[in-house]
């Protein structure tokens, strides 16, 4: 018998092993849900999967009686719009400030302590301020996402750029590069793969801030819907919505991972060899 550390699953076994926990959880849910139903036909806590499917079908295909929208899709579009604008703005800020702080000692001396302090402000604590300043519309939700993840992106990218070996920076100067050229052709391309990785890590927090802002003040959105139907204990809507959000976040993460490997193959050479 080989040691456990030396047992490596093949590709087929790997897929099976990955699916197993999901199947187990699904089975567990079905069994427990059925048992609760048998004990109490009015149970709302763990609705059967058929009930959830009916509710979701209604939300996805029947126009809302008040607004005339297909609720699931209008919620998804509203939320994703906020998420993408927020992520995009945070990425732009992260890239510009990260490159500047990582490359220019003067900028780093002047701004790094400020960024370090700002990144410690709990974003949720200043949500009321955002609502007061930017109103209850889209802007305050986007700003919450930006405030929540931009400081992390700035610090992460500044560290990545600062970690570029000084030999490369000197070499570029001996080839005649100006500071701007150095930033554009040496630092920026090497920061890009890390930016995408950092964005992947930020997806979780970004959704957290999005749902929180929507829960407090919104007229549409995935988070808004969940907190709305909570009043009716509508687990048949909440659980599928949570699953839908998770699926979206997982797909975004996967897309970013693919994008990074497609666009910057040089950064993943070690991975391919492994």
């Amino acid at each position: 018998m080989r040691r456990a550390v030396n047992i490596v699953p093949g590709s087929g076994t790997r897929v099976l092993l990955a699916l197993l926990p999901f199947l187990l959880i699904a089975c567990l849910y079905v069994v427990v849900s059925a048992e609760r139903r048998a004990a109490n036909p009015g149970d709302k806590l763990l609705p059967p999967i058929t009930e959830m499917a009916t509710s979701m079908d209604r939300l996805a295909t029947e126009p809302d009686r008040r607004s005339g929208d297909l609720t699931l899709w209008s919620d998804t579009v509203a939320s994703l719009q906020r998420l993408f604008i927020g992520l995009g703005a945070a990425a732009a800020i992260g890239l510009v400030l990260g490159l500047t702080l990582g490359l220019l000692p003067v900028a780093s001396a002047g701004l790094s302590p400020l960024v370090a302090v700002v990144s410690m402000i709990p974003p949720m604590a200043i949500l009321p301020v955002l609502f007061i300043v930017f109103g209850l519309g889209e802007l305050s939700k986007v700003v919450l996402i930006v405030i929540g993840i931009a400081p992390f992106l700035v610090r992460d990218l500044a560290m990545t750029v600062a970690a570029i070996p000084s030999e490369q920076i000197v070499k570029a100067q001996t080839l005649g590069a100006s500071t701007w050229q150095l930033m554009l052709r040496v630092a920026l391309p090497q920061a890009m793969p890390r930016l995408i990785e950092a964005l992947r890590l930020s997806l979780g927090p970004a959704f957290l801030f999005l749902i929180s802002a929507e829960a407090i003040a919104a007229e549409s959105g995935l988070g808004y819907r969940i907190f709305l139907v909570r009043r009716y204990l509508a687990m048949d809507v909440i659980l599928p919505y949570v699953a839908w959000i998770t699926l979206i976040a997982y797909l975004l993460d996967w897309l970013l991972a693919r994008l990074a490997r497609r666009a910057f193959p040089w950064a993943y050479v070690q991975e391919a060899r492994r």
């Binding site: 070996p165 030999e167 490369q168 000197v170 070499k171 570029a172 100067q173 001996t174 080839l175 005649g176 590069a177 100006s178 701007w180 050229q181 554009l184 052709r185 040496v186 391309p189 090497q190 910057f264 193959p265 040089w266 950064a267 050479v269 070690q270």
Partner: protein, 268 residues
Amino acid sequence: MSEIRVHNVWMEYGDQVVLESISLDIASGAFVSVVGPSGCGKSTFLRMILGQERPTRGIITLDGAALPDEPGPDRGVVFQRYSVFPHLNVLQNVLIAFEFAESSFTAKLFGAKRQAASEKAEALLEAVGLSEHIRKYPSALSGGQQQRLAIAQALAREPKVLLLDEPFGALDPGTRAQMHALIKPLWRDRGMTVIMVTHDLKEAFGLGTRLLAFDRPRIDPQAPERYGARIIYDLDLSRDGPVPVLGFSRPIEASPTSQETKRSMPHA
């Protein structure tokens, strides 16, 4: 022309004296090998010529003008590691030197200009024997090939001075011999001044026309950082006769070593 004059240069970090009272003239077109024990300041000396560090005292001039206190295209460099850009392929790594020079805002060339620069870059890569690998990324190259690329890159802006900081230190002996055979004709054809820091004495004697040995002649056991390194040997290797020891009364028997080295390295 690329004559370097170093006049009474000191390098100190706080209380620690690294180099003291270094004065020398390096003739245009010389190949200077710099040897010495680890931590004796030979790399610091190289970084001062490079402009990466400023001497605490003293003056360094290149062709009579004070050396700019930052790296520039008149001084090329090859480091032991990290000399090439990992995000650019072999051709782009050399091309970028022309792009820095000719496109100040975008640092990118297009169309006919790019074509012309590409041809120059390919010629350089041909000269270092990398023309079969121009589409590869540095991570796909061997250590020797990466250093060949670093050399091609350093030559692109036709520097007056080429600085080599233990360029072949991480290579296996066979590859190292190939690199020696590569660097010597490149130096001879271009008339550059080369300063090479190395730990390999055979390499230092085999390639150089002049050898500088750095060491700390004075050591105070109570304050080991009080005295810095000086040039303790300055050997002219360009002559065929016995190597004269400049500035030192005691001659050393360096000539047999030198000739033996030359014989064992046919291209050197």
